[in-house]
Symmetry: C2
Subunit: 389 residues, 2 copies
């Protein structure tokens, strides 16, 4: 066993690279029936690929994540990658052992091709002319990107939330390519409630007068108000009632008594405003529209089992680890359990761990010795099997 | 016992009356420190007040409710009052026995004075010059209105959600006036999560360019987009994951296959849009701002017990019935249980019933034989005690 959460074990100085996908002349056919003619994918890697190319692990980020999952870009960076506590020498995803790759999803806005990218056909940003995407499209693109990096087999893969949907899609779509897979705080399908929250967020964006049918890229006035509201809604769903009570309770913002004014009276209000403001500085509103739609469309049972999850799961060959958190109400444990049940009905090699946490859906992003230990142990067992072979 | 849910037991044709409060010359002093100089209260009554004036029951509506709680306004009405299944001859609130009164809350927009009302001092609508309100202010006004109707003792009172906050405030503020009280799907304080949802709804309204700092009353362009978004957010919190799955699941709106377009793909999206559109036809955006703030401010322990709910509850004299629903995640059962515990610590006469329901927070608005039976039995026991005296 490797040591867990070794603060000294940084992935070090890393950089985001851009890969231009080699596509057929007609472009890549997407599930919506349209094609995309030029695709860049931003990615980062950590550790070294073995000569046998058998130690690659793909990390799949969530809705607003990016390829920068660990380490820092410059020595002056105040913040490391979004999952730094999990990835590095001696950490759960031990970069002394594994070659870890994280790609920014297509449709995003952090290096990979998305609605803010220039459409080669028009010379202008795609905006709402960008084709609708699905989780399946994202995975198809990831496979092509990995192939160009010389990777055709994955030792493992991992993703939380929307990243977990991609993990499930991977082991259904390309079962022969994946030796093991870890799905955290995710779901085999987007529920009506999740679709509802996503839709209200989208409505906040498209009713912002600055959205202008998505053609705001040249302008200084962007749909930042709508995007901030969408983020605030999302943010509430990422926390739990308990964590919000612990973090804010009914504490007032910089005062002892009620001001009886509409401006941020409670700390939780100021916090949400801050989250909204910070988000619009790093995220594109149109990407938010496309990526939330891709989540809404996700339904593994419908896509691979004619509506039957057990039938869909008959495709799975990977050894899987499914994890959920007790206080996650966006993708609650029972949704993970549904998947675990369907995998077990197929006698698949699946482990399920429900972690006790007050942090809600976002728990997978918060350093946790238990989370690290469970993942480390899962990977280590598999690695030892390989060594023994 | 009276028969339950007797469809023939309609409260009949009723009308909303307007009461002009008799106020001191300086007006009514509110908790925010400001005064209000002229107050109208819309109300409806059902049944007859006894000569002893000992059979009055006050119904307190929720955030967007109104005084029209039972019966219909004209024989042609397609819809009865919002709690018609509970109130009428032979129903749980049996109008053959009880004199039921429902007042529209101050700050509302359905007959009672609120931000859309004309400010006598300026001759123009108050808009955002309307003073901030609290649940305590609402209750103070209700007491004055009842006094003008000749009612100084209440046989019982009942409220769900924000109405339940008013019930609790009543039995803390005027313990001598209330013989019994029923609180349904409510809470002794607004949690950080509830404040957060309320604040995002308010942000949707005030960032709507048509809001114009609340001065939209003369205009045809009102902040309907923002108000609709606020309603959609609220509506999700009123339902449960289960009820949304049962009601909509992932069904598509009038099609068999994905359209891969942004316009209402799933039924749940169309439903939310419809709820938003319908709401803006009947509700004022500024009222939504003021009433959600009043909810946020509510904290019975802080107001009456220096932060200690048990201490606050030492004031209670009423016999109470507290009810919650298993799938309510806006005001979950544990919040009701906290109140019940504090009442029991004071040896108060309290009954608690957790009703098994998939309908979420809105369950109290949905006809239920169990809900009717529990309320009927609670009131009937009390009524029989009175008869026996």
């Amino acid at each position: 066993m490797t040591p867990i959460i070794d603060e000294s074990g940084s992935a070090g100085i890393v950089k985001t690279s851009i890969l231009s996908l080699s596509l057929p002349p007609e472009g890549l056919l997407l599930e919506c029936g349209r094609t995309l003619g030029a695709i860049n994918i931003a990615y980062e890697t950590y550790g070294e690929l073995t000569p046998e190319r058998d130690n690659a692990i793909l990390v799949l980020h969530a809705l607003t994540g990016d390829a920068h999952v660990a380490g820092c870009h410059t020595p002056e960076d105040k913040k490391n990658g979004w999952w730094d506590f999990m990835i590095g020498p001696g950490k759960a995803f031990d970069t002394n052992r594994y070659f870890v790759v994280c790609t920014n999803i297509i449709g995003g806005c952090q290096g990979s091709t998305g609605p803010a990218s220039i459409n080669p056909a028009s010379g202008r940003p795609y905006g709402m002319t960008f084709p609708m995407l699905t989780i399946g499209d994202m995975v198809k693109v990831q496979k092509m990107a990995l192939a160009q990096l010389g990777i055709t087999q994955l030792f493992s893969m991992v993703g939380g939330s929307m990243g977990g949907m991609q993990v499930l899609e991977w082991i259904l779509r390309y079962p022969e390519m994946v030796r093991s897979a870890i799905m955290i705080a995710s779901t085999p399908k987007c529920s009506a409630q999740s679709i509802a929250f996503n839709e209200v967020g989208r409505q906040a964006i498209i009713t912002d007068p600055h959205w202008r049918n998505g053609e705001y890229y040249g302008s200084s006035a962007k749909p930042e108000t709508g995007l901030a509201i969408a983020r605030m809604i999302g943010h509430i769903t990422y926390l739990s009632e308990q964590s919000m009570n612990q973090k804010f309770g009914r504490r007032l913002q910089k005062r002892e008594e009620y001001s009886y004014e509409f401006t941020g009276e409670f700390e939780v209000e100021s916090y949400l405003h801050y989250q909204g403001l910070r988000f619009v500085q790093r995220f594109d509103a149109n990407s938010y529209l496309y990526l939330t739609k891709a989540m809404d469309y996700y339904d593994a049972a419908a896509d691979w089992g004619k509506g039957n999850l057990e039938a869909a799961c008959s495709r799975v060959k990977a050894k899987t680890l499914v994890m959920s958190f007790t206080s996650d109400w966006l993708f609650p444990s029972h949704q993970s359990k549904e998947l675990v049940k369907a995998l077990r009905q197929n006698n698949a090699d699946v482990s399920y761990v429900e972690l006790d946490s007050d942090y809600g859906h976002d728990a997978f992003l918060i350093p946790s010795a238990t989370l690290s230990r469970v993942v480390d142990s899962f990977l280590d067992n598999l690695y030892q099997e390989g060594e023994a072979e």
